[in-house]
């Protein structure tokens, strides 16, 4: 079976949803999962540990030029942008913040869209700014699948509605439905 990739973006109000997704993905999940979440830039440790509590999959923050593996969850490190390069490896960057964010969801999504094309599923969750909207547009343009959490269910819906305003969203789903969708990628 062809390898698939899942990228999830979130900001204010998304932590609970991320934890729930991670707790539901099975231990033998075969896809690579990338998390690009807005986080405190000076707090380097603790986030992976917090996310790991309920996750059946192993979670790590990639080191620059690390090869990405299937069945692993990767969290964009604090104060770095996270890119994906040909040869299936990570590249980190300290370039200027985009949408006041580093990591920026737009940059990670665009880079993933370009590299993984139709093998990519991109999910945007709750958030209070517009980061991720342009990234979703790129995912759509390169043939990936776009999913937003139903804005009515988001704690803060700015992010998901901003994405829906500028690009075609393939699926608008509740958290439960998102989880089912991601499980079916198996």
């Amino acid at each position: 079976m062809a390898k698939k990739y899942v990228i999830i973006g979130g900001s204010a109000g998304s932590f609970q949803s991320i934890t729930e997704i991670l707790s539901e993905l099975p231990k033998n999940y075969e896809q690579s999962v990338f998390l690009c979440l807005h986080r405190l830039k000076h707090v380097r440790t603790g986030f992976v540990e917090a996310l790991s509590i309920k996750s059946k999959l192993s979670i790590s923050e990639p080191v620059d030029k690390e090869y990405l593996r299937q069945g692993q969850v990767y969290l964009a490190p604090a104060n770095y942008h996270m890119y994906f390069e040909l040869g299936n490896l990570f590249s980190l960057s300290t370039e200027t913040a985009v949408n006041h964010s580093r990591p920026s969801i737009d940059l990670s999504f665009e880079s993933a869209a370009y590299l993984f094309k139709d093998k990519l599923t991109a999910v945007l969750l709750s958030g209070a700014n517009r980061d991720g909207a342009y990234g979703m547009k790129m995912v759509n343009q390169y043939g990936g699948t776009t999913i937003i959490q139903d804005p009515e269910e988001c704690q803060v819906k700015t992010m998901t509605t901003a994405a829906a305003a500028i690009t075609k969203i393939d699926h608008i789903l509740t958290l439960k439905e998102i989880i089912n969708h991601l499980k079916k990628l198996q």
Binding site: R44, V63, D64, Y80, E85, S93, T94, E95, L107
Partner: protein, 276 residues
């Protein structure tokens, strides 16, 4: 975010080839995603807009090329980024060197002043500044001239101050700079004895000395593994046994062919010591 016209891979390669042919600077081993993006951004700020225009201007004007190169460099994000790492430098490195008569420090590939200025504050507080010989090198004159001014970006000061607190500085960061209405400048006395060098680190180069500490944080992020290897070889040839190398928290030496030469000092921070 400005919507930028994307360049094609073939155009990107053509540009890199031209730069190499005309100016003997090889950008082919730079991490492609971010370099491509910076080229696209430069096409907007320089109002060249098309790859044809960009190629023509690079071909015609050396000044334009310098400006291009300057705009490809990535400024450091803030002062005292990863404050705990600076604290570790102070406690685990400077404490070991404090008996030396002279301490030589090199900051290769500096594209902005934040790393240097942070270092100067650390050395001042450790009362070692007078004994240090610091060399700062950069790929363009423009970067060097900017670093020399000691000017600080005002919007980065708040986060820099909180980083400084995490480094557990003995004062307040604001006591090291002058804040005016429109700008902030590092105190002049700190910058008195720095040696600046225009230096190209991507090829095998003659080392210009041996250093006790080399500060090279978040620079290798923009190289592919081959270039990381070449640059680390260059850096290694400027280190003595016992010298220290300070790299970014998410960087690694594992892809370097001579990684066994270095030993990590502490578990949490990326400071290495040359063993052989």
């Amino acid at each position: 975010m400005t919507r930028v016209k994307k360049i094609r891979i073939s155009e990107y390669r053509e540009l890199i080839k031209l730069v190499n042919t005309l100016y003997n600077i090889d950008l082919s081993d730079h991490a492609a995603t971010s370099l491509k993006r910076r080229i696209e951004n430069f096409m907007v700020i320089s109002t060249t807009f098309t790859i044809e225009n960009l190629l023509t201007k690079i071909e015609r004007s050396h000044d334009f090329f310098e400006d291009f190169l300057y705009n490809l460099t990535i400024p450091a994000t803030e002062l005292f980024r990863d404050g705990e790492a600076w604290l570790s430098l102070k406690n685990n490195v400077l404490s070991r060197l404090s008996k030396q008569e002279k301490i030589k420090i090199w900051l290769p590939e500096s594209s902005s002043g934040e790393e240097l200025y942070s270092l100067l504050v650390v050395l001042k507080e450790a009362e070692l500044l007078d004994r240090c010989k610091i060399v700062v090198s950069s790929i363009t004159e423009k970067n060097i001239n900017e670093i020399k001014t000691g000017s600080l970006v005002i919007r980065k000061l708040a986060v820099s101050e909180s980083n400084y607190q995490r480094y557990r500085g003995i004062d307040s960061l604001s006591s090291y700079y002058q804040l005016n209405k429109k700008n902030a400048t590092l105190n002049k006395d700190l910058l008195e004895k720095i040696e600046f060098k225009k230096h190209y680190i991507y090829d095998k180069v003659e080392p210009f000395g041996f250093f006790d500490i080399i500060i090279f944080r978040n620079r290798m992020l923009y190289y592919n593994k081959e270039l990381q290897n070449r640059v680390l070889d260059n850096i290694n040839s400027s280190m003595n046994k016992g010298s220290f190398l300070f790299i970014g928290v998410q960087e690694s030496l594992v892809y370097w062919q001579h990684a066994d030469k270095m030993k990590k000092l502490t578990k949490s921070e990326n400071i290495f010591r040359k063993q052989k």
